[in-house]
Amino acid sequence: MNIPNGNRDFQSSFELKTVLETSRMLVESRDTSFILNNLLLILMGRLLVTKAAIFIYDPVADKYTLKKSKGYQGYSEEKEYQILSNDEQKKLAYFPVSDAQNVFPDVLHDEENSFYFNLRTSNNHHGFLLLGPKANKKPYEPHEIDFVEGLTIISTAALVNSQLFNELNKTYRNLDRRIHELNTLFDLSKEFNLLVDREKISRIFKFALLGQLFIRKFFLIYKNQDNISLLASSGLTSDPDNSHVEHIFSVPNQEVFLIDDEFKQQNPWVEENEIIALIGISIQNEKVAVIGVGERVNKIPFSENDFNFLKSLANLAAISIQKTYFLEERIDKERMEEELSIAKSIQQGLLPDPIPPVPGAELAAKTISSREVGGDYFDVARSPDGNTIFAIADVTGKGVPAALLMANMQSMLHLLLPVDISFAEATERVNNIIFKNTPSDKFITFFWAKYLSDHKILRYVNAGHNPPLLLRHDKAEFEELDKGGLLLGALETIAPYEQTDIQLNPNDLLVCYTDGVDEAMHPIDQKEFGTERLKESILKNRDKTCEEILDGIVQDVNAFSSNQLTDDLTLLVLKACE
């Protein structure tokens, strides 16, 4: 080299100035790409080099990725390459390309004047700068090598800085996102607590999801009892029909289900609406909702964190929606109870109160409903001839239907009361009307009687009712009043009903009852109270008043069934006087 000394000094200071300027600029830069590009351009410009490239090392995969390439043919940026032939080379400041493991075709013909410069900080190897030959084909001067080394060290430090900065920035943004998600959850849980409007909850949930996940397509399907319905949606071309809704609800078993080709084939609606994932939401192990989402508008795939956020938010919404259904059920139930209690007071108004006195006899009667309203019925009324008619009946079934039929029965009896026809004939008319008016599975068992007080004669018709028990004052055995005919409402009257007269004597006792008495259940043994226990109860109290006899039976039945009556219970007790 015959460069004069003065010229060389000038060149050194020029190079030093470049290094200083570059370092100032690089330290402030946080842009990796800019730093690498800058390194290549400075070197190529200063040293008149036409080919240079930078490879960044990934210590985990032990691979080199080409980040920047200028002037080389046949290299692709972002592609991975093998460079080293041994680990020692990572510690060298530079080495000729011919020492590397893999010599690329485009490097081959000038490999003698090409070098790998180590991108290193004091502890770590970060990659290589590949520097091709100078344009004038002359070898590198030592001061030029120094210059490259110096610039490489500064650039590497800046590179590490920028990587760190980017990493920090990413972490910071992720943290920011998490905080924002938490805020959203917190906001919505407060909001949901205040709301009882299902539609509003679903809408707020929708907006929060669209905003937070940056999506446009969304739906929420909710299952209440056996009804699955679409509660909210956004960006859909059409609402799903029932079969699609049920299919969506039935298929994904896991919490997050990514729609696959098989699913799309089964459910074209999902494909048409570009739904990419379904998320199942369960409350206490029971699936209550499925949420479908389309892809993010900026195409960035959902992360596990995104799905976790979605699940948390959806859980909040599902619980709040469930709460609205529970509330509605409670309101419905309360309304129903109120109506039933009105019905009960109407029904009670149909029973005789007070029970009119019966000339020539003492009478007590009572009905106890197991539910709010019931199908048991009794009546005591004065007939136009001055005698007393009494009746006891039991409608099949319980609750409101039975009570309606019972009310019907009551009005018929009172209409027929003043009509001058025989007891048997009246029964026949009642049967025909009930048969016409009621469905075939509704019957009434019915017993009624007229007490002719002057002669102490009891005239009765029993239409399929439990035979009333007659206990003569001087006997310990019971007679059963079972004559009459078929129960009411089963068939149109074919054979006429039969009426029977019985002569009563003072202190003869008659007990009429419905099946709530003899069929009362023992809660443990599952045995029925039965007529034998009923008879014992009557015998025990036979000398007492009708009221006391009736109360005695009720007490015995209650004790037997531990006060758990499952059916209506009605008793009517009559005792002939002196």
Binding site: E191, I204, V297, N298
Partner: protein, 118 residues
């Protein structure tokens, strides 16, 4: 009651919505109602001015997501202006700048609308 208000005015033939206060889960439906009524009247060139908006929650962002396609499908757009840094950060965090034009002031939004239609 939370403080949120929307003022609707007209500027050079564009619909301008001034948002004020806090746009969150509670108040999102107010914005929804206004946007819906604009869309129904085919008024689709909408500028939303955030100058006096102090806070925005995800549900507020969701309203923009839910109606942007409707607005664009009738040939309009929603452009956003005058966000304070806190509000802009939320939009940025969730990726909105890729989908929406966000400007420093209304003048730029108007200019963009005029440019778009040329």
């Amino acid at each position: 009651m939370k403080n949120f208000k929307i003022n609707h005015r007209n500027k050079s033939g564009f619909e301008v919505l001034d948002l004020q206060g806090e746009l969150d889960a509670h108040t999102a439906s107010q914005l929804e109602d206004v946007l819906k009524s604009l869309i129904n009247k085919n008024k689709s060139n909408i500028i939303v001015n955030f100058k006096d908006l102090d806070y925005i929650a995800s549900a507020g962002l969701g309203v923009f997501m839910a109606y942007i396609e409707d607005v664009r499908s009738i040939g309009g757009d929603i452009k956003l202006t005058n966000m304070n840094e806190k509000v802009y950060n939320v939009f940025d965090l969730l990726g909105f700048p890729t989908l929406y034009d966000i400007f420093e002031d209304e003048q730029h939004a108007v200019a963009k609308f005029l440019n778009d239609s040329e």
